[in-house]
């Protein structure tokens, strides 16, 4: 057995975590508040749509996914006071009016014949944007000081990937004609334009900038 009193490094050789991160406490709280708001809007609309879709497999997936996003909202709600925001409701807001318009357009479809639009809005637009926002946050936050946010994001991302796959596969079973493909892509484009205007789930800078300065 190795000598237990021999000095060891606090960071094991395989532990490459770094201290610097792009977000301070305030910026993290701001982003987390927007994440919570967006997750809430998503679980609410998924819940509302259950009664409106005739396809039983879709109905059941919406019910399952509704809870996952509620749980994500709860994780963010609990994180806010740890980020010095003692009134979580203050930061539980949309980043801007364009994001509010995006949610209004996302939640608009109701008719039982509009399952394609409902699923496209969530699984081809909203959830991919969640994946981008969370991935950017995870890869840019301090891996040591912001450990709790990183841990939540890792759990959440697993759900997002699983649900995106479920949703995408359901969409593929519903798109059986060129006209339906066109419907799906037109709705996707309409929503994507609104999200571009919003700058992403956390507003401009949600996923940083890819351009050289």
């Amino acid at each position: 057995m190795a000598d237990p009193f021999k000095a060891r490094n606090p960071f094991a050789p395989w532990d490459r975590r770094e201290l610097p991160g792009m977000f301070d406490v305030e910026e993290t709280a701001r982003r987390v508040g927007h994440y919570k708001w967006a997750e809430m809007k998503l679980f609410e609309v998924l819940g509302g749509w259950i009664a409106t879709v005739p396809e039983i497999d879709v109905k059941l997936r919406l019910g399952t996914h509704c809870y996952k996003h509620a749980w994500h909202a709860e994780l963010w709600h609990n994180r806010l006071p740890e980020l010095r925001e003692m009134n979580p409701e203050r930061l539980t807001v949309a980043p801007n009016d364009a994001m509010v318009r995006f949610i209004a357009a996302l939640t608009e479809p109701e008719a039982p014949e509009m399952t394609i639009e409902k699923l496209v809005g969530v699984y081809r637009v909203f959830i991919p944007h969640f994946i981008s926002a969370y991935t950017f946050h995870l890869n840019n936050t301090s891996q040591i000081t912001d450990g709790p946010t990183s841990r939540s994001i890792k759990f959440i991302l697993q759900d997002e990937f699983d649900d995106w796959r479920d949703g995408e596969m359901l969409i593929q079973t519903l798109l059986t004609t060129p006209a339906e493909v066109k419907r799906a892509s037109e709705h996707q484009a309409r929503l994507e334009i609104l999200l571009i205007e919003a700058g992403g789930i956390a507003g401009p800078g949600t996923i940083g900038s890819a351009f050289a300065e």
């Binding site: 819940g47 259950i50 509620a70």
Partner: protein, 278 residues
């Protein structure tokens, strides 16, 4: 999408046929409306010994399945219909979202059990009364009508079905019913906790909610469907209801309402038998 979704618009595929509770009660083919009433058995409890046990169990399982679909839809609507913080607390909505997941699993379980029992989706008519109870514009009334009255009935139904599975030597059925029973106790408890919390300083609202619960309880006691007597197909499951937050007084009230409904049915049967030719 509209806030508050009417029961008539519930979306279903082509296999399902729906009826309101009023339509079912008024159906002239119903046994109590035709005078064709079976002579009283020594017990009406759903057990494998009943000659009609197979069909009765399949019909009940299908009823559970469509009830779970509506419970899923109702919980989902509560997530959407009310403004968070103003009309419904955030934590209540989280509970409703959790219930969505649970009910979705219950649908999956009951679909598989129905297939196992030889039933096709939509083979029996769907009574939409559960979702109707979830259409109230007050979230507290929804909690009272759905989580306490109807999910309370689900506790009774699952207890009976679990026993049926055990008696029939079907561990598959008993195993699944026991899991669903555990979830239902949680749902009823959610209803009990939120009802007390939200109406803590509003006795009038609490009174209205409890009255609504009582009305729903009465509807489901119709014909003596559920009581503590062996003459009812479904047994009132006192122990599990206690775990779910029902007080002794509330349990006694439900037992009394159920017994009264059973007595009404007894009288109707006797009257019909007395007036029918020998």
């Amino acid at each position: 999408m509209r806030k508050f979704f009417p029961v008539e618009d519930l979306a279903r595929d082509e296999r399902f046929n729906q009826a309101t509770n009023e339509e079912r009660m008024a159906d002239p083919r119903g046994t109590s409306n035709t005078g064709v009433i079976r002579k009283a058995r020594s017990t009406n409890r759903l057990t494998p010994l009943r000659p009609d046990a197979t069909d009765a169990a399949r019909s009940l399982m299908h009823g559970i399945m469509v009830g779970e679909i509506q419970a899923l839809e109702g919980a989902g609507r509560t997530c959407f219909d009310f403004v968070t913080g103003e009309e419904a607390p955030f934590a209540l909505k989280l509970d409703m979202a959790r219930q969505c997941w649970d009910e979705a699993r219950h649908v999956e379980i009951s679909v598989k059990l129905s297939e196992w029992m030889g039933t096709e989706l939509g083979q029996f008519i769907e009574n939409t009364v559960l979702f109707a109870a979830a259409c109230s514009q007050d979230p507290v009334l929804r909690l009272a009508g759905v989580n306490r009255a109807l999910e309370g009935l689900a506790i009774d139904v699952f207890t009976t079905m679990k026993e049926f599975g055990e008696l029939a030597g079907d561990p598959y059925l008993a195993f699944c019913e026991d899991w669903m029973l555990a979830d239902e106790v949680t749902h009823v408890k959610m209803g009990s906790v939120w009802l007390r919390k939200i109406t803590e300083n509003d006795p009038e609202r609490r009174k209205k909610a409890l009255e609504f619960q009582s009305v729903v309880d009465k509807i489901f006691s119709y014909g003596g469907l559920r009581s503590e007597s062996d003459e009812s197909p479904i047994l009132l499951a006192r122990r599990f209801r206690e775990l779910a937050g029902f007080s002794d007084g509330e349990l006694t009230e439900i037992a009394d309402v159920s017994l009264a409904a059973l007595n009404e049915r007894r009288e109707a049967v006797e009257k019909t038998l007395a007036s029918s030719p020998a």
